[in-house]
Symmetry: C3
Subunit: 127 residues, 3 copies
């Protein structure tokens, strides 16, 4: 059910972007009970001047490798689960493709279960 939007600067090789997407998904599977096959991700590459970030907000030193990860998902995860998600995602992306943890910005948007259709015009998650 999550829909994931990944925004980064243009210029990275495809293997880099794939490793980003893989690590983001794996962190969700491991920490917030996302089914392994429930994977829908859209990656957008931006020219340098179109991905604007503060290089020091909250004392975190960011670089041009900054990645914005927006996850639209069902409401219901606890704050502890969210903390686990952030920590695991940073860890996995540091391992591959080598993203500095400082360069990972994550934003969750929570919605209701009936707000999804995964195909066939049906609301598969509605109860």
């Amino acid at each position: 059910m999550p829909l994931v939007r990944i925004s980064l600067r243009e210029g990275k090789p495809e293997t880099y972007r794939r490793a980003l997407a893989d690590g983001i998904h794996r962190a969700m599977v491991e920490t917030i009970n996302v089914p392994p096959l429930d994977r829908f991700q859209a990656i957008t590459e931006h020219p340098a001047q179109s991905l604007i970030y503060d290089p020091a907000y909250l004392g975190i030193v960011r670089s041009d490798n900054v990645v914005f990860v927006q996850i639209i998902l069902n409401a219901g995860r606890s704050t502890e689960q969210k903390r686990a998600l952030y920590a695991r995602m940073a860890e996995l992306l540091q391992a591959s493709p080598g993203l500095r943890p400082q360069d990972l910005l994550i934003s969750l948007v929570e919605v209701s279960r009936e707000n999804w259709s995964f195909g066939n015009g049906q609301a598969q998650y509605a109860v």
Copy 2:
């Protein structure tokens, strides 16, 4: 009021994308009381490797024609209205531009009425 983001693979002709956008809007007008003139849509085309989808999640067989439709709209629609929206959108897009219903993923994000400005720096929907 809805703001609609449509994500698909690059390479389709303009007429195809226009038919997608037309059908998405028409389904909203017909099923969830969106005014016909209330139409604001942003289409993003992605290279193959930047639009990632599972080809079988929930037993639905998806293809490279998959389309992600994200709709930001006011809260308040019932689950029945949402079901009607999904079904009608799948039906209309199957008729034109010929999208397989399996390839239509829909995600709704609900917000409050005062969360919109449609121009002139005013909150037209705030009560």
Copy 3:
């Protein structure tokens, strides 16, 4: 904490897009207590046929210069603060880069404080 998505037609000079982004951020700082360094913005340029808008909805005459501004932010701002944000943003963007107030569409998406990580895999805003 806000994550801002700015969508406009392709073809404007970089200075124009920068002025847009600057004015949007400044309006948020001045009216809804966003810290000056809390700035994360992704700009997407669309071909003409991929940014669809109604040229007259609610009696507002829009042009091809229309800009969609989506702001993901923490819940908690009052309707009065939101009104002030819209008005100030329209005013600042009219001054620079010269955007007609009719061409500014704003959409807010509110989330919880624990829904953010600004780096290092931590939930900096969680309480």
